[in-house]
C-alpha cells in the first residue's frame, strides 16, 4: 500500500472503480489487483480507502452489492455496476479526458 499514490488520485478513485467494474462484477480485492495490474503498478490502492469508496459508491446508487459464497464457504461481497453507475462512468471519463487534454496543452505550451 502506497499512501501518497492513492491520495494523488483521490478524485479518480471513483472512476477507476467504476471502470474496473464495467467489465465484470468483482470483490474489493479483485478490483485492487485489477487496477494495479492494468496500470502496471502505477496505481496501488489503499485497502481502507478502497472499501470505504465502495461503500460510498454503493450508497450513491452507482454500484450494487451482493454477498456470494467462496470456495472455503466464506462470504465475499461482490460489486457490480448499475445503470446509473455506467452513466456516471461516462461522465467521469469525459471529465478526466478534458482535464488531461488541458494539462497536456499547458505542458506543451511551456516547452
Amino acid at each position: 500500500m502506497d499512501e501518497p499514490n492513492t491520495d494523488v488520485i483521490q478524485g479518480t478513485l471513483d472512476m477507476l472503480i467504476l471502470k474496473t467494474l464495467s467489465l465484470q462484477p468483482m470483490h474489493g480485492y479483485g478490483i485492487a489487483r485489477r487496477v494495479e495490474q492494468i496500470s502496471r503498478g502505477v496505481f496501488k490502492i489503499n485497502p481502507g480507502s478502497l472499501l470505504t469508496a465502495l461503500q460510498r459508491l454503493e450508497r450513491a446508487g452507482w454500484l450494487d452489492a451482493e454477498w456470494r459464497q467462496t470456495e472455503n464457504s466464506r462470504r465475499a461481497k461482490f460489486y457490480s455496476l448499475t445503470r446509473t453507475g455506467r452513466k456516471q462512468l461516462g461522465v467521469e471519463t469525459d471529465e478526466w479526458t478534458r482535464r488531461a487534454a488541458a494539462v497536456a496543452r499547458l505542458l506543451k505550451s511551456e516547452g
Partner: protein, 882 residues
C-alpha cells in the same frame, strides 16, 4: 447522490449494528485472506504471508474502523454514545449535577420570566396595521410647561380641516356610563367617546355590524353604541342578534350597531364600548379642553413633517383666538405614549436578570473547572488512547448541553410559576399584561440562552484538557495536588468577575431602594390615612344637568346634601366630602384670568388645575388652611362666587401680595379668592403640586363626583354603610372605584416598588452566588496548597500566619472585584437615571454602603477556608503530597 439510499443504508446499519459490523468484518477478512493467498503464491510461508498481508493492509482493525466509520449513522451513533456517557457521568456525581442544574435553572427561569413580560408588553406589535404611522396630537401650555394636554373640540376641527400630514384625524375621550338592565345590578362601564373616523384611522374592521354613520356622529344624532367584544361575550352571550338591540346607558336608550374586536383596546384596555362623540365645531367652547386627538400619517409623510405642520396650525389658532394663548401642539407616536412609563424599568430589569445569569454561569464554570481537575486522569488516559481534542470537545459539549437543557426545563417550570407571582405583584397599569405568558417566543429565547450558555461551558473543560501535561498526570495519578497556575488564575478571574457583577447589581438595587425610600417620604400634602373614596355618576334623566339651569342644579345639590348628612351619621365617620376628582386624580385644568391682569393674559393665558369640592373637602383630606377662610355651606348658588387657591398658585401669581380679595375668571365667571390652602400633589408623589383652585360644588356643580369620608378606624369597614346611604338617597346608582386613599397612594408608586423589589432580589441572589464563588475558590486554593501549608507549619509558621496568608488571597480577589465592579457601576448606572427620584446615579452613600456590604460579606466568606487552612495537620499534608 441518492438521498434515499443514503438514508436507507444508514438506517439499516443503525437498526442492526451487529449485522452491519459483521458484514464489514467479513469483507475485510476476505480481503486479508486474498492478500495472504497472493503471498503464499509468491512462495511465502503461511505465517509470513499472513504477516505481510497484515502489513499491507496497515492493520486489520484500522481498516475495519475506517470502513465502519463511514456514513451519517455514525454521527448519530457517536452523539447517542456521547449522550449516554454524559448522562452516566452526571448521574455518578449527583451533588454536582444538582447544584449546577438548580443554579442555572433558577437563573434561566428568572430570565425567561422577565423576558416574557418584556415580550408581552413591549415587543409584541400593536394590533393596528402600520401602528408606527399613528400619532397622538397633544396640546401644550407654554406658561405652565405642560405638554400632554387635551385639545378643545373647536381646535380639533381646525386641525382636522387644516392639516396636510394626516389622512384622517379623530378625537376621543373616555367617560363612564352606567348600564342598567332589568333585574340586574347597575354596572358602570367605561365608554370611549369617539369620532366616527377613529375606526378607519386605527385600520380595523368591526367584528360585527358597522361603525357610526355621519348622521349618528352629529350633535343631537341618534344614540348608538358599538360594544366591545369582551362585554359582547360576557353580557350579551356573544349573540349575533345583538345588532339592533337597545341597551340603557345612563337611563337613555342606545341602539347597538356593531362590535369592536377585542384586540383593539382603544382608548384603553378598560374600554367596554364606544359611543359617537356627537360634537361639532361650535358645540363646546374653545377654552374647554376635553378631547384627545389621534391621526394616521399620510403615506410618505414623516412624523417630523407632521410636527411642523401641527405647530404651524397651533400658531395660527393662537393668533386668531384669545383662548389659545400659549397653547402649542406636538405629536407623539402612540407606542411612546403607551410604553414610555414602563419601558425603562422593564429594560433595566431585563439587563439586571441577565447579569444574574452571568454570575450563575461564572459559578457553574468554576464548578466545571473543579470537576475538570478531578477528571484529569480520565482525560489523560483517553488522550493517550488516541482521542482527538475535537472528540473530547464534543464529549464535553454534550455533557454541558445536557446540563443546560435540564436546567432550561427546570427554569421554564420555575418561570411559569414565577410569572404568576410576578404579574400579581406588578403595577396595575402595566399595559398589555394579558399578553404575558410562556409562548413560542419565550421558549425560543430560553433555548437560545441555554445553547449559548452550554457552548460557553463546553469550552471550559476543553481548554482545561488542552493544558494537561499527560506524562505527569498519568504518573502521579492525577492528584489535584499538582499546582496548576493556569487553572487557579482562571478560577480566580471568574470569581473576580462574579464579585464585580454582584457589586454592579447591589449598587443598582441600592440606588433604586434609596430612590423609593425618598419617594415614600414625600409629603403628598394631604393626610392619606383613614380616608375612603368612592366615585359615582348621577344620570341626567333623574338629575337634570343641562346648561340652561347651570349652576342651579337643585336635585344634584340636594343629593349631595342628603348623602353627606347620612354618611356623617355612620359611626366612625368623622367628616364627609364630595369632589369632582379625589386626591391623586389630576382632574381638569382651565385657562383663567386674574382681575387687573387682562393685558398680561393677552400675551399668554395660563392653566390652573381645578377641583370642584364640597365645603368638607379640606377637612376630610387634611389640607391645612394657610390664610383667609375655607369654603362653607353659605357659598351657594345665590351667594357671591368664591374660590380658594393653593399655596403654589398664591406663590406663582401673587408673589408679594395678599391674594385674598382678588378675583379670577374662568368659565366666564368672576370669582373672589377667599382663602389659601396647602398644596396637594395632583400628579402623584414624583411631581410637584401645580397651581390649583377649588370652587364650591354648590356654585360649580358636577354630576360625576368622588365621595370622600374620613373615618376613625379602618375606612374599609365603613364602605358597606356608605353604599347603603347612597342607595337610600339615590336609588339605583353604581358606586365604582371604591377604596382607600392609602391604597391609591400606595398604588401610585407601585411601579417603583415593583422595580425595587425585583432588583433587590436579583442583587441578593447575585451576591449569594458571588460569596459561594469566593468560598469555593479559596477552599480550592487551600486544598491545592495544603502541601505548602504543611511545610510552612513544619517550619514554624503560626496558625495566624496561615490564616492571614489565605485571607490576603481572598482580600486581593475582593478588592479587584470591587474596583472593577464600582467602575462598571459608575459607568453603567446611567441606565437607571429614568427610574431614580431625586437621587443621582453617582450617589456616594449608595456606592459606599454597597462596597462595605460586599467587602464585608466576601471577607467573611474568605475567613472559613482560611481557618480551615490553619487546621491542617502538617504531617498529613506533607505525606499526601509526596
Amino acid at each position: 447522490m441518492s438521498t434515499w439510499r443514503q438514508f436507507a443504508r444508514g438506517l439499516r446499519v443503525l437498526t442492526n449494528r451487529s449485522r452491519s459490523d459483521q458484514d464489514v468484518t467479513d469483507e475485510v477478512q476476505h480481503y486479508l485472506e486474498q492478500t495472504t493467498a497472493a503471498y503464499i503464491e509468491r512462495g511465502f510461508s503461511p505465517d509470513e504471508a499472513l504477516r505481510s498481508a497484515r502489513l499491507e493492509l496497515g492493520g486489520v482493525t484500522n481498516v475495519r474502523e475506517q470502513v465502519r466509520g463511514y456514513g451519517w449513522e455514525n454521527v448519530v451513533d457517536t452523539t447517542l454514545a456521547d449522550l449516554r456517557y454524559a448522562a452516566r457521568r452526571l448521574r455518578a456525581a449527583p451533588a454536582f449535577t444538582a447544584v449546577v442544574v438548580l443554579t442555572l435553572g433558577v437563573a434561566i427561569g428568572a430570565n425567561s420570566a422577565i423576558f416574557s413580560v418584556v415580550d408581552g408588553v413591549l415587543l409584541r406589535p400593536l394590533p393596528y396595521p402600520h401602528a408606527d404611522r399613528l400619532l397622538m396630537v397633544w396640546e401644550g401650555d407654554r406658561n405652565s410647561g405642560t405638554t400632554r394636554e387635551d385639545a378643545s373640540v373647536p381646535d380639533y376641527y381646525d386641525l382636522s380641516n387644516g392639516n396636510h400630514s394626516f389622512t384622517a384625524v379623530g378625537a376621543f375621550e373616555e367617560q363612564p356610563l352606567t348600564l342598567t338592565e332589568a333585574g340586574a345590578e347597575p354596572v358602570r362601564l367605561v365608554a370611549g367617546t369617539v369620532t366616527r373616523n377613529v375606526l378607519q384611522i386605527l385600520g380595523v374592521a368591526p367584528r360585527l355590524g358597522r361603525g357610526f354613520t355621519a348622521a349618528e356622529d352629529t350633535p343631537g344624532g341618534a344614540r348608538v353604541a358599538m360594544l366591545g367584544e369582551q362585554i359582547w361575550r360576557t353580557r350579551f352571550g356573544g349573540d349575533r342578534a345583538v345588532i339592533g338591540h337597545v341597551i340603557r346607558l345612563d337611563d337613555q336608550p342606545y341602539t347597538v350597531v356593531g362590535v369592536i374586536p377585542e384586540a383593539v383596546a382603544f382608548p384603553s384596555e378598560h374600554t367596554d364600548l364606544w359611543v359617537p362623540l356627537q360634537q361639532g365645531p361650535t358645540t363646546t367652547p374653545r377654552y374647554t379642553h376635553k378631547v384627545k386627538v389621534i391621526g394616521r400619517l399620510r403615506p410618505g409623510v414623516t412624523a417630523k413633517a407632521a410636527q411642523l405642520d401641527v405647530r404651524e396650525i397651533a400658531q395660527r389658532l393662537e393668533a386668531a383666538y384669545p383662548a389659545n394663548k400659549g397653547r402649542g401642539m406636538t405629536v407623539e407616536p402612540i407606542s411612546t405614549v403607551l410604553f414610555a412609563a414602563v419601558r425603562p424599568s422593564l429594560l433595566v430589569l431585563l439587563g439586571a436578570v441577565g447579569l444574574v445569569l452571568l454570575v450563575a454561569c461564572a459559578n457553574v464554570a468554576n464548578l466545571l473547572l473543579a470537576r475538570a481537575m478531578v477528571r484529569q486522569r480520565e482525560v489523560a488516559v483517553r488522550t493517550a488512547l488516541g482521542a482527538t481534542t475535537g472528540r473530547l470537545a464534543r464529549q464535553f459539549f454534550t455533557e454541558s448541553l445536557l446540563l443546560t437543557l435540564a436546567a432550561a426545563v427546570v427554569g421554564l417550570v420555575l418561570s411559569a410559576l414565577g410569572l404568576r407571582l410576578l404579574l400579581a405583584m406588578a403595577p396595575a397599569d402595566l399595559p398589555r399584561a394579558g399578553n404575558v405568558g410562556i409562548n413560542a417566543t419565550v421558549l425560543g429565547f430560553t433555548l437560545v440562552v441555554a445553547i449559548a450558555v452550554s457552548f460557553g461551558f463546553g469550552l471550559v473543560p476543553t481548554f482545561s484538557a488542552l493544558k494537561l501535561d499527560l506524562q505527569h498526570i498519568l504518573r502521579t495519578g492525577g492528584r489535584t495536588g499538582s499546582a496548576d497556575p493556569y487553572h487557579r488564575r482562571l478560577r480566580e478571574a471568574l470569581v473576580i468577575a462574579e464579585i464585580a457583577l454582584a457589586v454592579v447589581l447591589v449598587v443598582g438595587a441600592g440606588l433604586v431602594v434609596r430612590s423609593f425610600w425618598t419617594l415614600r417620604q414625600v409629603d403628598p400634602g394631604f393626610t392619606a390615612q383613614n380616608v375612603l373614596h368612592a366615585s359615582l355618576e348621577l344620570p341626567p334623566a333623574r338629575y337634570p344637568q343641562s346648561y340652561d339651569i347651570y349652576p342651579r342644579w337643585t336635585r344634584i345639590a340636594g343629593f349631595y346634601d342628603q348623602v353627606t348628612q347620612r354618611v356623617e351619621t355612620i359611626p366612625g365617620v368623622r367628616s364627609v366630602a364630595f369632589a369632582s376628582n379625589g386626591p391623586l386624580d389630576p382632574g381638569i385644568t382651565n385657562s383663567f384670568t386674574i382681575e387687573g391682569r387682562e393685558v398680561e393674559a393677552a400675551r399668554g393665558q395660563a392653566e390652573i388645575s381645578t377641583r370642584l369640592v364640597s365645603p368638607g373637602y379640606f377637612v376630610t383630606i387634611g389640607l391645612p388652611l394657610l390664610r383667609g377662610r375655607l369654603l362653607s355651606n353659605t357659598d351657594n348658588a345665590d351667594a357671591p362666587m368664591v374660590a380658594v387657591i393653593n399655596a403654589t398658585a398664591a406663590r406663582q401669581y401673587f408673589p408679594h401680595q395678599n391674594p385674598i380679595g382678588h378675583r379670577l375668571n374662568f368659565w366666564g365667571q368672576w370669582r373672589e379668592i377667599v382663602g389659601i390652602v396647602g398644596d396637594e400633589r395632583f400628579h402623584g408623589l414624583t411631581e410637584a403640586a401645580p397651581a390649583a383652585v377649588y370652587t364650591p360644588l354648590q356654585q360649580t356643580p358636577a354630576a360625576s363626583v368622588t365621595l370622600l369620608a374620613r373615618t376613625t378606624g379602618d375606612p374599609a369597614l365603613a364602605i358597606g354603610a356608605v353604599r347603603r346611604a347612597v342607595e337610600n338617597v339615590g336609588g339605583e346608582l353604581a358606586l365604582f372605584d371604591v377604596g382607600t386613599i392609602q391604597q391609591a397612594l400606595s398604588g401610585s408608586i407601585a411601579r417603583q416598588r415593583f422595580t425595587m423589589l425585583l432588583l433587590g432580589v436579583f442583587a441578593g441572589v447575585a451576591t449569594a452566588l458571588a460569596l459561594l464563588g469566593v468560598y469555593g475558590v479559596l477552599s480550592y486554593t487551600v486544598a491545592q496548597r495544603s502541601g505548602e501549608m504543611g511545610i510552612r507549619m513544619a517550619l514554624g509558621a503560626a496558625d495566624g500566619d496561615i490564616v492571614r496568608l489565605i485571607f490576603r488571597r481572598g482580600a486581593a480577589l475582593v478588592v479587584a472585584g470591587l474596583c472593577i465592579g464600582l467602575a462598571a457601576a459608575l459607568a453603567g448606572s446611567r441606565v437607571l437615571a429614568h427610574l431614580l427620584f431625586s437621587i443621582g446615579t453617582t450617589d456616594a452613600a449608595t456606592y459606599a454602603v454597597a462596597s462595605v456590604v460586599i467587602a464585608g460579606a466576601a471577607l467573611g466568606a474568605s475567613y472559613l477556608p482560611a481557618r480551615r487552612a490553619a487546621g491542617i495537620d502538617p504531617a498529613v499534608a506533607l505525606r499526601r503530597e509526596y
